[in-house]
């Protein structure tokens, strides 16, 4: 079984302990924190995980933290728990991508379902992250000339057009294309285009530099 982890942040010790124990009783590993600060200082493993977050806490509130998480490079699915059944707040939280908003006391089934949904989202995010890392590594292995050819290939240009645009011979373009196919470890031109589209997306987002 792949390793899974649930982070719990709640300032109330008994709620924290009870949740810890409940998840332990169904063999889910947990790590709990009494504040957002102590959570931030802890080391995080890049494994399947989600975060159970109390809405109102002294210091930084859970709502604010969710808002800032992605900026801090923390992309963990969030499940909110709250002692106040606050509807407008739950709407905001869900809009910002929370998995669920449960009011205390919550039902076991509800929290477990939310956790498993959180793990699914986490798996997707990890997969996406790995794919992007792979693409980034390959792209960076290309030399400047090859990168230029890739950018035209994505746009659907023919070898002859690319040769004219880059002011090189058609043979050179063909050689570079073969090198690209080899470096990118793709078997068909369709695969190359699929990866090329991913590269273009990352270039637009700025997570990849030309």
């Amino acid at each position: 079984m792949e390793p899974k982890l649930v982070y719990i942040i709640d300032d109330d010790m008994s709620v924290r302990d009870a949740l810890d124990d409940l998840l332990a009783s169904v063999d889910i590993e947990t790590r709990s924190f009494d504040s957002i600060e102590s959570f931030l200082q802890s080391e995080k493993n890049p494994i399947l995980s989600c975060l159970i977050l109390d809405v109102r806490m002294p210091g930084q509130s859970g709502m604010d933290f969710q808002h800032k998480m992605q900026k801090n490079g923390l992309d963990i699915p969030v499940i909110f728990i709250s002692g106040h059944g606050d509807i407008p707040m739950s709407v905001t939280a869900i809009k910002r991508g929370a998995i669920d908003f449960l009011s205390k006391p919550f039902r076991e089934q509800d929290i477990l379902e939310a956790i498993y949904r959180g793990f699914e989202v986490s798996r997707e995010k990890i997969k996406q992250h790995e794919e992007r890392n792979h693409v980034e590594k390959i792209y960076n292995s290309l030399n400047a000339g090859e990168k230029a050819v890739v950018s035209f290939l994505i746009k659907g240009h023919l070898n002859k057009q690319i040769a004219a645009e880059l002011n090189v011979s058609e043979i050179t373009v063909k050689v570079r294309r073969a090198n690209i196919m080899q470096k990118m470890q793709v078997k068909s031109f369709a695969d190359l285009i699929r990866m090329g589209i991913e590269i273009e997306k990352m270039l637009l987002e700025g997570s990849l530099q030309i």
Binding site: A18, L22, K104, F106
Partner: protein
């Protein structure tokens, strides 16, 4: 001649201001100005200069009076709004906040209790039951239920502390004082109030401030019941009397009235028909009345509207208190 006429105009404005709005006062003032000026030109006898000075003095007096009346009206309106807002805010806000914080205080241990109960069952249902972990969970449940009951105890102590300042007083005075506080509201909403005061003292042993809160609350409810447009008759009748040697208070309104469902639940906590209502006003009223060994009841008036009644034990049964309503 002009001075005499001007004094008369001031009297007109002073009397008129009691019945008409600010705009009306300004119109009235303009008419008086016109009449004063016309009478100045029509007067042929006497010195012209004396006449002119008299006319100017008259107009100045007129404008000053009008200005003061307008200022007074604005101030009165502000006072009415302020009273109304304050009572409502105090009633709704504090109760709202109170319930929210009580809910949070109770939900916290409840969450820990239910999660621990689920955990306990899971430990016992395993292929190899983990008795130790189950017992730990049970211990936590015991601890958390005690915590919840401590919260409840704290709330109870809070409300107990309030019922302390009991004194011997006349129910008639309590009602009078409360009505006096709400006078501005009654007039503002164009409601006709009849106050049938029992002609002998109704001596009760109560917390005066709390009783005023109860009666004031009933009063605000009655005023709200008279708000809807379709209510054409706006009467509130307040009466004090004795019955079986007990002090009684009755308030009748001609408002929207109560359905059978209303009467069944009207004193229940959090039961409300008003948007943004806490559903605690009448619950608190009943708690206070019952803490004074009294009875509060609500029923529908056969002529429409609602009747609220409070019966309190009389402290001293003087001979002057003739029995019967």
């Amino acid at each position: 001649m002009e001075i005499a006429a001007a004094v008369f105009y001031i009297a007109v404005i002073l009397v008129g201001a009691r019945f008409i709005s600010a705009k009306g006062v300004i119109v009235l003032c303009s008419i008086c100005t016109l009449l004063t000026v016309v009478s100045f030109f029509l007067t042929t006898k006497g010195l012209f200069e004396t006449g002119l000075i008299n006319c100017i003095i008259a107009l100045s007096a007129l404008y000053l009076t009008t200005y003061i009346i307008l200022r007074t009206q604005v101030a009165e309106n502000n006072a009415i709004n302020a009273t109304y807002q304050m009572t409502r805010i105090a009633r709704i806000q504090s109760l709202g906040e109170l319930t929210a914080s009580i809910a949070h205080e109770i939900n916290q241990p409840l969450a820990a209790t239910t999660a621990s109960a689920d955990a306990c069952r899971n430990w016992l249902m395993r292929d190899k039951p983990d008795i130790n972990r189950a017992i730990q969970a049970l211990e936590r449940i015991r601890r958390e239920t005690r915590r919840a009951s401590e919260v409840v105890e704290r709330i109870r102590r809070l409300s107990k502390n309030e019922i302390t300042q009991k004194e011997i007083c006349d129910l008639n005075d309590i009602v009078s004082d409360t009505l006096a506080l709400s006078n501005a509201l009654i007039e503002h909403h164009d409601i006709e109030l009849t106050w049938n005061r029992y002609d002998a003292p109704l001596i009760v042993h109560v917390d005066k401030v709390q009783m005023m809160q109860v009666i004031g609350n009933l009063f605000l409810n009655a005023i709200e019941a008279l708000q809807p447009r379709l209510v054409t008759e706006r009467f509130i009748t307040v009466k004090t009397f004795t019955m079986n040697a007990q002090a009684c208070f009755r308030m009748t309104d001609t408002g929207v009235g109560l359905s059978e469902e209303d009467i069944k639940h009207i004193f229940d906590a959090f039961w409300t028909k008003r948007d943004g209502g806490t559903g605690l006003g009448l619950t608190l009223c009943r708690a206070i009345v019952e803490a004074h060994k009294g009875i509060i009841s609500a029923r529908q008036n056969s002529h429409g509207g609602a009747i609220f009644e409070i019966i309190l034990p009389c402290k001293i049964n003087k001979e002057s208190n003739n029995s019967g309503a």
